[in-house]
Symmetry: C2
Subunit: 192 residues, 2 copies
């Protein structure tokens, strides 16, 4: 706890990167111990089971996402610019290949084989993101800044799905620019 970057946190960070590569079943404790300077068994001291590790990893990810959104709300007032900043954040992540996929989007695709505790966290992320997007769209529509075709909720779900699908296509094509090519028209379309 006293370290600026505790071992437990290093493990979480490492596991996150590994999950982003290929999901829950694509990494092992051995993979983590190879990167973080720690023995396989020592990981169990911090996280008794793999399910624990990933649940806490997603919980931490959700906290960071919430913090990022809060900062966006503080620094950017215009709803359209908020959406553009959100999309731009991911465009950057994909372009520099640091975290080229949303942890929860990746885990969501594997839900049938995931521990229940992890599923609940992933689902909560989807709801949280959708809620925020809906609130932004609603505000934008009220200000006459955005044009919605359906309800804010429906538009938010579609927006989120398209962003996730764009991540997938970028990965499938092996071309980071795909993400922007899909999301730019998405933004243009809702701009008033």
């Amino acid at each position: 706890m006293e370290h600026p970057q505790s071992k437990a946190d290093e493990i979480l960070r490492c596991a996150r990167s590994l999950i982003i590569k290929g999901g829950y079943n694509s990494f092992s404790y051995a993979d983590i111990s190879n990167v973080v300077g720690i023995r396989n068994a020592s990981i169990h001291h911090h996280f008794p089971s793999k399910s624990d590790l990933v649940r806490k990893l997603v919980a931490q990810y959700r906290e960071e996402a919430a913090a990022g959104i809060a900062e966006l709300e503080r620094n950017v007032s215009d709803p359209f610019e908020q959406l553009r900043a959100y999309v731009g954040y991911w465009e950057g992540c994909i372009a520099d290949a640091t975290h080229p996929f949303c942890v929860c989007a990746l885990l969501a695709s594997e839900i049938p084989v995931l521990p229940e505790a992890v599923v609940l966290e992933v689902r909560a992320h989807f709801r949280g993101l959708s809620d925020w997007l809906a609130s932004v769209l609603e505000r934008g529509a009220a200000q006459g800044r955005l044009t919605l075709t359906g309800t804010a909720r429906a538009e938010a779900e579609m927006f989120m799905a398209t962003v996730h699908g764009a991540m997938l296509s970028a990965r499938a094509y092996g071309d980071a620019r795909t993400f922007g090519a899909i999301t730019r028209p998405l933004l243009d379309r809702i701009a008033a």
Copy 2:
């Protein structure tokens, strides 16, 4: 080969269902042998390695997808109705939970940890699907039946991404209706 449903085909079908559940690393040869009445080692007779198995599985999936599209082209003339039929096909698959996810969409999310041969097949599926969607959109626009905001290609990529994202959201929420809730506005939007 002589059997109406050969053992090799049974293995491919079974592996496909297992992949749809949670991807490449979520199933083993043991899982297959438990379902298909065959010994673990015998699977290697038909498919020397797991990479071979999954590559052929995706190739078969692509053939079936191409056949489905060809049938659609034969039976449905109106571009908008073609798109609606395509989306409706997936809505049915998700509702009855038989194949509630596109094999290639799932594998695409795991690309960094997939054998190269599988990646090429997955990428080819994305290109093929995008090509078809673009051709339908182009035709629809030329007939004045559909309204495109960007190029047919860009619109096709966005359409595909949204459909994939809708599968993901349906899985994340654990609610099949989510898919329709996202794709219906998607179709409405491009209808002239």
